[in-house]
Subunit: 131 residues, 2 copies
DNA sequence: AGTTACCTTTACGTTAACGTCAACCTGAGT
DNA sequence: ACTCAGGTTGACGTTAACGTAAAGGTAACT
């Protein structure tokens, strides 16, 4: 941990507000083993690291990933593995994720084109109405 | 319909095989009002148009869209609307879809960068093991 | 006539990702 | 002492998107 990075903390509702989700959702992610906030007595205390993880989960969600998939993605970010086999398996996962993202990119581009065409037809129909 | 376009038809399992889904799934989409195949007696007969709609649904699914969202997207493709208000509403939806896709594009690009970094760390760890 | 390969409807089961209470604690202000 | 805004742990409810039998129809081989 760098001296320059101030270690902020967050309450559960701080994060809920920031990301526009409910506290239930955050606790649910913890139940699912994706967050492990510190505690002050009973109360959960979230670190910047927790916050980043939450961000990753939500980004995965926007891309249509399940929690299980997001969990895998998060685990890829620190190769704590100690043996080569694990590391090679990790590389395979990374490669698979890449391919999934490529597919999504292609899907999005096709869809954008179709939206362009759809808007064109829409404008055309509007011009028809005016004439 | 153009004379050059041959009007093919498909059985439910034809489509199931082609898209690697179950027949149950296809019937489910029909229950949800997203497909209306012709019938020969009881048996469903799918046209090319049905097939395209199915394709759209599945692409939406890959992007994490719900069926309801995919339905909206499909409806955008033919502006059967007759009044200007509907058409303007449609344009708004198209615009919203565009923004959602832009968000996804951004998410994907960030994620791709992170995967690059993750693989780098992974390779680094492997080099450590070899040394 | 019997089996096989598809097709059908009806209907209950399942999983993920939360929502929604209920009942309780707890520190800060009045 | 009381209230109040936050927090907590159960625990059951809900919705979407199918899965999974059960029970049956039909056309085509053998």
């Amino acid at each position: 941990m760098n001296d320059l990075t101030i270690a902020r903390t967050y309450s559960i509702s701080d994060l809920a507000r920031e990301f526009d989700i409910t506290t239930r959702t955050i606790r649910f992610y913890e139940e699912a083993g994706m967050l492990e906030p510190a505690r002050n007595g009973q109360t959960r205390i979230y670190s910047d690291e927790d916050r980043v993880k939450l961000k990753l989960i939500l980004r995965g969600k926007r891309l249509g990933f399940s929690l299980a998939e997001s969990r895998e993605l998060i685990e890829m970010y620190d190769p704590a593995s100690d043996n080569a086999k694990q590391l090679h398996a990790l590389r395979n996962k990374i490669q698979q994720s890449r391919e999934a993202l490529e597919q999504q990119l292609a899907d999005i581009q096709v869809m954008q084109n179709e939206l362009d065409a759809a808007e064109e037809r829409c404008l055309e129909a509007l011009r028809e109405l005016e004439s």
